[in-house]
Amino acid sequence: MKIGFINGSPKKEGSASGCLLAELKEILKQPVSEYCIRSRRDTLPDELAEQDVLVMAMPLYVDGVPSHMLSCLTELETLLKGRKITVYAIINCGFFEAAQNRWAIAILQNWCQRTGLKWGQAIGVGGGGMMPMLKDIPPGKGPKKNLSRALETLAKNILNEQSGETLLVSPNFPRFLYRKAAEMGWRRQIKENGLKAKDLSARPSGSC
């Protein structure tokens, strides 16, 4: 079985999508062809059409699929039309609630239908911002408990090319702490950039 991963994060390294795909690869224990789409100028290799399974991972941008991945999907519609490929997706958002990924997942399902591909399954992941920080935590432990279980289910379905219900996974971690940690992170990072914490609230003004 040929399995292809598409990492749709624009980040070169340290992306939540990359972390999630790495964990899935560990579980699959199968050779995987990995592709990155960081901008709409990235070319899509023809060999994508030869895969039996495609797993797309991407961040949620403004409630939907990031624009460069939308461009990619329109090109893939032509490249993959009518092929016998099962599509799986992992979408993560910086918000705590995994359910906020649901409309981006719907977009991918609509794309699948237009392209004539089989829809496999999606995982919507909440708390994506903490994903790179959790990479050294063993699967199934602490904040990763539910996520690891979902990735196990996804891997099982991928290996059998089966479809499954969408899995929405928020971190096993209190939301108020996630929020606090994220906001402390913003204050620390803006100071590292030579600005003050109050500058987070800057309001550029003027006429357009």
Binding site: P10, V62, L73, F95, L108, Q109, A182, L200, S205, C208
Partner: protein, 166 residues
């Protein structure tokens, strides 16, 4: 002022908007740089995108408006890639810190203005599921931008848009 984000052809833009006043039209062009998720608009130049092109001030420009109208080809239930590129560049309008809205985590507002958000989607053979998805997306955008829902409509062609709707 109203902001219109659209992917219409120049002649359609001319027909629909040239006689209107108090309108800020943002044409989604192929030259737009896509958001790279760097958070520079929150942490390096707060409120302003770090990518240098004509869409750098989307945050400030939205703050000057009371209404946002999005006109877009509907692609898989989403905005078109170009219109979505503009939407993705709108996050400087928001504050990086969070609030709980409708039981869900969202970004706090950076500015005080409240946007009424409408969307006109066009496309010839949209499926029911695509229309549903598009509607949900606009409603979700409305919650995220802490705005008020305006009108959502689906048209067969961009040409079918009437100036009086804007």
């Amino acid at each position: 002022m109203k902001m219109i984000i659209h992917d219409l052809k120049p002649e359609q833009e001319e027909r629909l908007f040239s006689a209107k006043e108090d309108l800020l039209t943002v044409s989604a062009k192929e030259t737009i740089k896509t958001c790279i998720g760097c958070f520079g608009c929150w942490l390096k130049t707060p409120g302003r995108c770090v990518l240098k092109d004509q869409y750098q001030e989307m945050g400030r420009d939205l703050s000057l408006c009371g209404e946002l109208i999005i006109i877009s080809r509907c692609v898989y239930g989403s905005f078109s890639p170009m219109v979505k590129s503009v939407m993705d560049r709108c996050i400087p309008y928001l504050h990086p810190c969070f609030t709980i809205r409708g039981g869900e985590m969202h970004h706090r507002r950076r500015y005080d203005n409240r946007l009424k958000i409408s969307a006109f989607f066009y496309g010839e053979d949209l499926t029911e599921k695509e229309r549903e998805t598009a509607e949900h997306i606009v409603r979700a955008n409305c919650v995220n931008l802490d705005g008020d829902m305006g009108r959502i409509a689906f048209l067969k062609k961009g040409e079918a848009l009437e100036g009086e709707w804007i």
